[in-house]
Amino acid sequence: MSLVKQPSSTSSWYLPGIFKGMLLTFFGKMLKNLFNKKDMITLNYPEEKYQYSPRFKGNHVLTVNKEGDIRCTACMLCATACPADCISIIASEDEDPTVEKYPISYEIDILRCVFCGMCEEACPVDAVRMGPEWQTPGVNGSQFVYDKEHLAYRPQLNGGKGIQSLCEDTERHNFGI
């Protein structure tokens, strides 16, 4: 619920408002920051970075299995759920008969992405997650289309080894699921 504060008649006065603001700046913030640096809110970005919640929905991560292969089964449910139409997958037959298919190409156009997290939600095998990063500059458009290699093995993810999913497949396969 949002309450709209009705402006009082004095709020349209100009000078009292400026003084009020100045007081806050000088005494409320500047002096406090001068003598109590620890509690200062601002950060020296990019030298310092803010620690986000682990549930932050940043750039996507494709998880890997024990062998280090991408877990994604190319079911395209993420692409189906995606409201921005930013995921494109090309599936292919796997040589392993226990694996139905795998993505030869998994691309996310991060500039189209709205970071809604529906892909993560839709994934039946915990293969795509929203990761913690969001500071991802690039110098041209093509750098914002993340391919499979980038999504799974970029250096930020365990130094390029990828993030291993905790899901165990063997038991599931035994039960024919």
């Binding site: 395209m76 189906t80 292919s92 139905e100 030869i104 190409s105 024919g176």
Partner: protein, 526 residues
């Protein structure tokens, strides 16, 4: 004509109609897997249970003939319970891997479970494991675990293709579909087994994993593979056309179509996807196969400007010095429009009919496929007859040889593979000063300095009529736009004539004219 009551509705059916057919006629819901209108009755899925008044046992609707005065219902609690359990029996050994199953989205088990399912499975035991990814033939892949043994595919090979490749091996819950050793499923109708498979057990090697079906739209058209003119559903999305499936037409093809006709879809797409490399570093590469722009010799030019220029040149040269070659691959409307331009506007009698494989024209495999691999041979002959044209091919070659004919316009065949004499004809005709060729696909033999290529629409991008071998006229309609600066024969004739096409018609197929969300119809249902 027996009368019966189905779920409280009276219906009169023909003698010998089964209850399930009556249900279909009334468009009432009835669960079924093994019954298929084009095949014999197997009665093995036991899902189409109905209660016939006066009969203590539930009957299967597919094998019970309607008799006068029958009162039939499948809304009974007893029937509903039986169907619920019937579905559960189907599912106890069926793997729950819908996300990776290629049938998901058009799966009979999914659809019917949503409608009639029990929703509280009680199976807590291990499922039976069977073989996966079995090659039945070069086109069909089998996943035995997903098979519900409805025997539709087996009956298809027994009754329709009459090749008997498939059989059910072993017994009980270890039964599996399979082929006999050394006899793979490779008849020309094998992909119909994939269509009739209600689950993801049989999948097409070609379509497998290429697209999820809910990304595809479908529209009805007519197959151009041969003069039978099977009705088809074209499955497409914004990236192109992905597959053809037969659409039911009792007069033409029934429920089936041949594999050769299905293969043709790949020629329509402007880009072809190629995969390179090993398992981990596979890369996807796209190769254009369609002509995207007009080619004036080696010069790339806007296709509409080229068509207008062709028209002017033809008019300058006049009737005797120009010639038109038509084939049985265009629609009747196109043939008529272009021929009319030559016969009326240019006053030319030089209209020639290019026949590709005259000697096989009467071949017929007894099911659907005919030797005449043009969809509109009858239409071409009709057009020639209408304008009273009967020039022979030798007149054309002579004319070119002697220099009477300086410019030839060829309404090139859309399907170049069925024209084995394509190259020799190009050689023959390119002896003329200018050869204008409307073509949908690139072809190396056309890359010559005096050959102008105009991009033509394929049959999914145009409207028109095909007349099949029996003289049946079938309309095809616009399905999707694949190459937006290509155009069909009717537009070509208008451009050549110099008619001023209104802006919206000139850019009829322009991407800016696309309907909002036209490719997202099935998305978001999940």
């Amino acid at each position: 004509m027996p009368k019966c009551t189905l779920n409280g509705k009276e219906i009169e059916v023909a003698e010998g109609t089964t209850i399930i057919e009556a249900y279909k006629k009334l468009e009432e819901d009835i669960a079924h897997y093994c019954w298929h209108p084009g095949l014999s009755v197997a009665g093995v899925c036991r899902l189409c249970m109905v209660k016939v008044e006066g009969n203590p046992r539930l009957q299967i609707a597919c094998n019970t003939v309607v008799q006068d005065g029958m009162v039939i219902s499948n809304q009974d609690d007893e029937v509903k319970e039986a169907v619920r359990w019937g579905l559960d029996f189907h599912l106890i050994n069926h793997p729950l891997d819908c996300p990776v199953c290629d049938q998901a989205g058009e799966c009979g088990l999914q659809d019917q479970y949503m409608k009639f399912g029990k929703y509280d499975p009680e199976m807590a035991e291990r499922k039976v494991k069977k073989s996966k990814v079995v090659d039945l033939g070069k086109r069909v892949v089998l996943d035995s675990e997903r098979c519900i043994l409805c025997s539709r595919c087996v009956r298809f090979t027994e009754e329709v293709s009459k090749t008997n490749e498939l059989g059910i091996f072993n017994r009980g819950d270890h039964s599996e579909i399979g082929t006999y050793s050394g006899k793979p499923l490779d008849n020309n109708y094998s992909l119909n087994t994939v269509d009739i498979c209600p689950v993801g057990a049989l999948t097409s090697r070609d379509f497998r994993f290429k697209q999820r079906v809910w990304f595809l739209n479908k529209k009805q058209s007519v197959c151009t593979g041969c003069s039978t003119g099977c009705n088809i559903d074209v499955y497409f999305n914004k990236e192109g056309v992905w597959r053809f499936k037969p659409a039911f037409n009792a007069e033409v093809n029934g429920h089936w179509m041949c594999d050769k006709g299905r293969d043709y879809y790949a020629n329509l797409n402007p880009y072809e996807t190629h995969v390179e490399g090993e398992r981990k570093d596979k890369k996807v590469k796209r190769i254009p196969v369609r002509l995207l722009n007009g080619m004036k010799g080696s010069e790339m030019i806007n296709s509409q400007d080229l068509a207008i220029e062709v028209g002017q040149r033809l008019k300058e040269l006049g009737g005797e010095k120009v010639a038109l070659v038509i084939t049985g691959q265009q629609t009747s409307e196109e043939l008529e429009a272009v021929t009319e331009f030559f016969a009326k506007d240019l006053n030319s009698k030089n209209v020639f009919y290019w026949v590709n494989n005259k000697e096989n024209f009467d071949e017929f495999d007894g099911i659907l496929k005919r030797g005449d691999e043009n969809p509109n041979t009858k239409g071409a002959l009709k057009t020639l007859e209408k304008f009273g044209l009967n020039q022979t091919w030798s007149q054309l070659t002579d004319g070119i040889e002697k220099g009477h004919i300086e410019m030839v316009l060829v309404l090139g065949p859309e399907n170049q593979q069925v024209y084995p004499d394509f190259k020799t004809r190009v050689e023959e005709l390119s002896k003329a000063k200018t050869l204008v060729w409307t073509t949908a696909c690139l072809n190396e033999s056309l890359d010559k300095s005096n050959v102008w290529q105009i991009p033509a629409n394929t049959f999914v991008e145009k409207e028109g009529t095909f007349i099949n071998h029996a003289g049946l006229e079938q309309k095809i309609s616009f399905i999707t736009d694949l190459v937006h600066n290509a155009f069909d024969g009717v537009e070509l004739a208008r451009l050549m004539r110099g008619d001023d096409l209104p802006e919206e018609e000139r850019f009829k197929n322009s991407p800016y004219k696309r309907v909002n969300n036209e490719f997202t119809s099935i998305r978001g249902d999940l």
